[in-house]
Structures are given as C-alpha cells and as structure tokens.
C-alpha cells in the first residue's frame, strides 16, 4: 500500500496534447475513480501511472518514490485490462502465480499458498487447474482480478474491468470489488465511463473532460453539487436550461429563452447562467400549478416507468416518471419540481455531451 502522487502530467501524441497538466494526490488505501467519456484521457492517465505510457511532462510518485522514468516491470503495481489479458497457454493457477514468479515473491510453497488465497478471494478456488479457454467471461474476469491482487501491489490499476460483463454479473462484481477493497485496503485507481460504477465503488471520483480534471470529490458531493454544466450532465442525466437571472423586489427570477420564468432562491446572483434539473426531480402534471410548461416530444415505455422527452425553450428535457397518467405526444404538460432542487451553474461555454 502506498500513496500515489501525480504532478502536472502532460501527454501528447504527436502534436495533439491529450492530457493538459493533471495533478492528483491519492491517499494510501483510497479507491479513486477516473470518470469520463471516451477520449477524455482517463485510460492514458492510468497507463502513465502503470508506466506503459511515458508522460511528456510531469512526475509520477508511488509511495514517495519518483518512478517517472521506470518501466512497468520495475514499478510495484498490478493492472487489470479490459480484455483481461490472461495468458491462454497457462492454467488458471499459473496465470495467478505469474506476477509472483516474475517479481520473485516468496518460495514456491508460499507462492502456491498465495495463489490459493487469491483464487479463494474471488471464489474460484475450484478452477485452479482449468485452462483459460474453458472459462466463461465472468470467470476470466475474476481470475484477472485474482492475478492483480495476488502480489499485494502498492497500487491496483483497473482499466474498465467490468465493461465486458452483462448487467447482472457487473452488479455482482461491483459488490465483490467493494468487499475486496475493504479487506485488502489496496490503493486502487479505477477507470470507467459509467457514472453508476464510479458512484457506487469509489471513495473519490475524479471527473475528466478533454484531458483536464473537471471536478473531483466524494461521490455524494460530486453528484449533489456538480460544479459545471459538464459535471452536471455527465453525472445523473441532468437537464440543462440556459437562463438569465434578474432580481425583482426581494426575489430572483430566472427567465428562459422562450420567456417562461422560474422563481429561484432569493440570494441567486444576477446574470446569465445554466439551470440544471435532474430527471428524477421532475414530475409531470396536466395543467395548473406547474412551474413550467413543455411539449411532449417522445414517450418511451420502460416497464416500471416511462421516460419522456420534452421540448422546452428549444432544449430537450428528459423526465423519468411513473407509467400513469399517460401524456400524449404533442400535448402540453406542466413540469412540477421543487425550486430548491435546481442547481445554478455557470453558463455553458459549448455544448456538452449528455452521456448516460
């Protein structure tokens, strides 16, 4: 176990800079997620920590030691790959023993014991003598995890390890990852594009956007208080509405682009801003005392719930509701929400992608 310090990491491929100076302190035993859309540089950053990629500028420290110039085999790390990268010509047990063999950890007997322990940790002790090709995807995934933890590395690096699993297996593995992390306390860096994974697993989330840290913080903090429109739309499918805030008497009023207004808390600052409203915070009503009125563009039936796409002031809004009552496409609906749930963010500088 050790802390990881990244100092002003920059990375260019040719003339394209993909990481623009990222600094990060990761405490010993911390589980941190690098979250972002594809192409944001999260995997590149992880590969720089591993040593598979050299940083163009900056410094990497593991446990207080500067390892910037060291190749991966000289760093005390373990990494789990998206493809699992199990060695197909070796048995399960030999795969898990591989890091111990390469790093000359322990005697043969001790190695056997540690392999058995690691396989037990992922509950696959009975598969030790199998060939890799005889395993299912989920089993391969666990073997890869066992192989990554067997050497008790200073840092455990996980590169989207759950993305190739089906939904049920993925949930199981999330629970297992949390338990293994609690038990072994390995400093862990987890790369993912899946906000739910990041929220459920991490002590801290680092949200990356276009090679920069957009926001970092504890999951509940980053979810409930996104600092930017990007953070807001990336975490939790927020609806973003450009608006202008004016003070009228003792209250603040936000005026949307189509002229509709919403009352905001009185201390809201005047000027251009973005209103962020989560889809789960909105309910629909036919008429009456709604905060805003919008037109139904699409209705998607999801079984237990319905998702509506509404058009309001030139923006598409997503709302998740119960299946009744049904609102017809083309009809007007009222949006009901608690004004306290609106987050006021800086105006959007450019269109951010709404990935959910």
């Amino acid at each position: 176990m050790a802390d990881v310090r990244l100092h002003q990491i920059k990375k260019s491929f040719g003339s394209v800079e993909v990481l623009h100076g990222i600094s990060l302190d990761i405490a010993s035993g911390e589980f941190i997620s690098l979250l972002g859309a594809s192409g944001c540089g999260k995997t590149t950053l992880l590969r720089i920590v591993a040593g598979l990629e050299g940083a163009t500028e900056g410094r990497v420290e593991l446990g207080g030691q500067d390892v910037t110039g060291l190749p991966p085999e000289k760093r005390d790390i373990a990494m789990m790959f998206q493809s699992y990268a199990l060695l197909p010509h070796l048995s399960v047990a030999e795969n898990v023993r591989f890091p111990l063999r390469m790093r000359r950890i322990g005697t043969k007997a001790e190695q056997r014991e540690r392999v058995a322990d690691a396989l037990e940790t992922v509950q696959l002790g009975h598969l030790a003598e199998r060939k890799i090709s005889q395993l299912s995807g989920g089993q391969q995934q666990r073997i890869a995890l066992a192989r990554a933890i067997v050497s008790k590395p200073k840092v455990l690096l996980l590169d989207e390890p759950l993305s190739n699993l089906d939904a049920r297996l993925r949930e199981d593995m999330q629970v297992e990852l949390i338990e293994i992390h609690r038990r072994l306390g390995l400093t862990t860096i987890f790369v993912t594009h899946d906000q739910e994974e990041a929220l459920s697993l991490s002590d801290r989330i680092v949200l990356l956007n276009k090679g920069k840290v957009e926001q970092e913080g504890a999951p509940d903090e980053i979810y409930s208080s996104p600092a930017t429109p990007f953070a807001s739309s990336f975490l939790g499918a927020s609806n973003l509405l450009p608006a202008t805030v004016r003070r009228v008497g003792g209250t603040a009023i936000a005026e949307l682009e189509d002229g509709q207004t919403v009352a905001l808390p009185a201390d809201t600052a005047e000027g251009a801003c973005t209103l962020a409203l989560r889809q789960e915070d909105i309910t629909l009503s036919g008429e009456g005392d709604a905060n805003l009125t919008a037109e139904v563009a699409t209705r998607v039936y999801l079984g237990a719930r319905s998702r509506y796409i509404l058009r309001l002031a030139g923006q598409d809004l997503r709302v998740l509701t119960g299946t009744t009552p049904t609102h017809e496409v083309g009809s007007k609906v009222g949006l009901v929400f608690d004004a306290d749930r609106i987050r006021i963010l800086p105006p959007e500088t450019e269109k951010t992608s709404k990935d959910t």
């Binding site: 040593g51 598979l52 991966p72 990494m79 493809s83 591989f98």
Partner: protein
C-alpha cells in the same frame, strides 16, 4: 435462407467436389499401384503383385544417399526457416519498425517469385562468390523459399492473440527476455509448428532449386527420382514416392496428436 440451394447449383457443386477428389487422389492411387508391380516397366494397372521395388529402393545406395541428404537439408531448413520466419513475424506484427508493411511483403515475396529464376540467380551468385556449390547452398536456397510459410502461419496466429498480453506481462513484472520466452513465443507456437511442418515438407520435396544446385554427391531425393525417371524409368520411382507419401501422412498424424489438425489447419 441457407437451406434453399437450387438443384443445378447442388449438382455443379457435387461435380466440382468429385473432380477435385479425383484429380487429387487418382495420381496417388496410380503411383501406389505402380509401386507394387512385378514388371520391369512402369505400367498401370500393375503387372502382378510384389514388393521387389521396395526392396530395390531400400538397398540402393543412390536412393538412400539422396534421401539422407534431403533429410539433413530439410532438418536444417526447418530450423533456420522457423527461427528467421518466426522472428520476422514477431517484428512485423508489432508494427514498430518503419515500413512493417513493406517488410511483410518482402518476406512473402519468395512465394510469387518464379523459383527457377531464383535458382539460376542463386547458382550464379554462389559460383561467383564462393565457387562450387555445397550442401550449405541448398540449405540457404530452401530456407529462403520456405520462410514465407513460417511468416504467414506465425502472423496468422499472432494477429488473433490479445495485443495486451505483453503489456499485461510487463505490469506483472516480466522483463524483456521473460516477455519474449514466456508470453510471445508460446503465443506463436501453433504458427511456428505449422510453419516448421511446411518448411520440412517443402524442402524435402523441392526439386527446382535442388536441380540447379546439384553436383555429383549432392543430389537430393526429388532430383534423384527425376533423374531415374528420365534415364532409366522403372517402378522403383513409384516405390520411393509411396514411401514419401507414407512419411508425410505419418508426420501429419504425429502433429495431429500433438497439436490437433483443426487448430493446425486454421493457422
């Protein structure tokens, strides 16, 4: 619909399959038939039944001597061809060398180059620089024409393996040499084995280069067979050929035991 194949197409397909089988197997049947003939002359169907030509072959110094040379050459060629071809395939597969694509084409070029032109050039070059040809000349010549097979089979296997294996090994503490021997070479193994099989068979069977590079005392088996057929044809030629067929089939069976022909053929 997969099942809906029209009748004319089905008939045509059957004719094609039968014709292929006929032209592939019929010559072998003729050769084996002739080899058990009792007659002095090459005739089919055989005149009587006897193994006299096998006895003849197995006690003939010229056949046994030629076979011994062919065998030694084939072994050497298998070794060098597998080493060079395997190394080339690994290098090409990484695409880190400038012009990997051009290199791949270069290593496969002996496949398309007319062997006779290569053989003539090899003879002239060798004579000009080193003088009389030796077994080494044939060794080098055969290595060149068999390398493409090793490169191809090894590349085929490598292109299907997980490109992250080596990086994964690196994160597990494996240094350069360990990665080569414990990760890359085992990945290549089925391809190398297939390539080695091709190299041995092609070298053992090769006539053109061997013909140009022959001299008294340096005659490979195919050249010996050719000479025999040209100057004093008798069923011994068929007997040798039958033995070669049997050896090849034996080799395939051994490989099937060790690697499985399916896996082998797919590379």
């Amino acid at each position: 619909m997969v099942g809906a194949i029209s009748r004319p197409v089905r008939i045509a397909a059957w004719i094609f399959v039968l014709a292929t089988g006929l032209f592939l197997l019929a010559p072998l049947v003729v050769v084996i038939g002739v080899s058990v003939s009792e007659s002095q002359f090459i005739s089919f169907p055989p005149d009587g039944l006897s193994l006299r030509w096998y006895k003849e072959v197995l006690s003939s110094d010229s056949y046994l001597g030629a076979a011994w040379i062919s065998f030694r050459v084939a072994l050497l060629v298998t070794l060098t061809s597998t080493l060079c071809g395997g190394a080339a395939a690994i290098a090409i597969n990484r695409r880190v060398l400038p012009g990997s694509g051009a290199l791949a084409t270069f290593f496969l070029s002996p496949l398309v180059l007319p062997t006779i032109i290569y053989a003539i050039g090899m003879l002239m070059l060798w004579s000009a620089i080193f003088g009389p040809v030796t077994i080494v000349t044939i060794w080098i010549g055969h290595t060149v024409i068999t390398i493409p097979y090793v490169v191809r089979t090894t590349l085929a296997v490598l292109s299907e393996s997980d490109p992250f294996l080596e990086e994964a090994a690196q994160t597990m503490g494996a240094g350069r040499v360990q990665r080569l021997w414990l990760v890359v070479v085992p990945q290549c193994l089925p391809g190398l084995a297939a390539g080695a099989f091709f190299a041995f068979n092609i070298s053992f069977d090769e006539a053109v280069v061997s013909l140009f590079l022959r001299k008294p005392g340096l005659t490979t088996l195919p050249v010996q067979i050719y000479g025999q057929l040209e100057f004093s044809p008798d069923p011994s030629v068929a007997a040798v050929s039958t033995i070669m067929i049997a050896l090849t089939v034996g080799l395939i069976l051994i490989i099937d035991r060790m690697l499985g022909v399916q896996r082998f053929a797919s590379s």
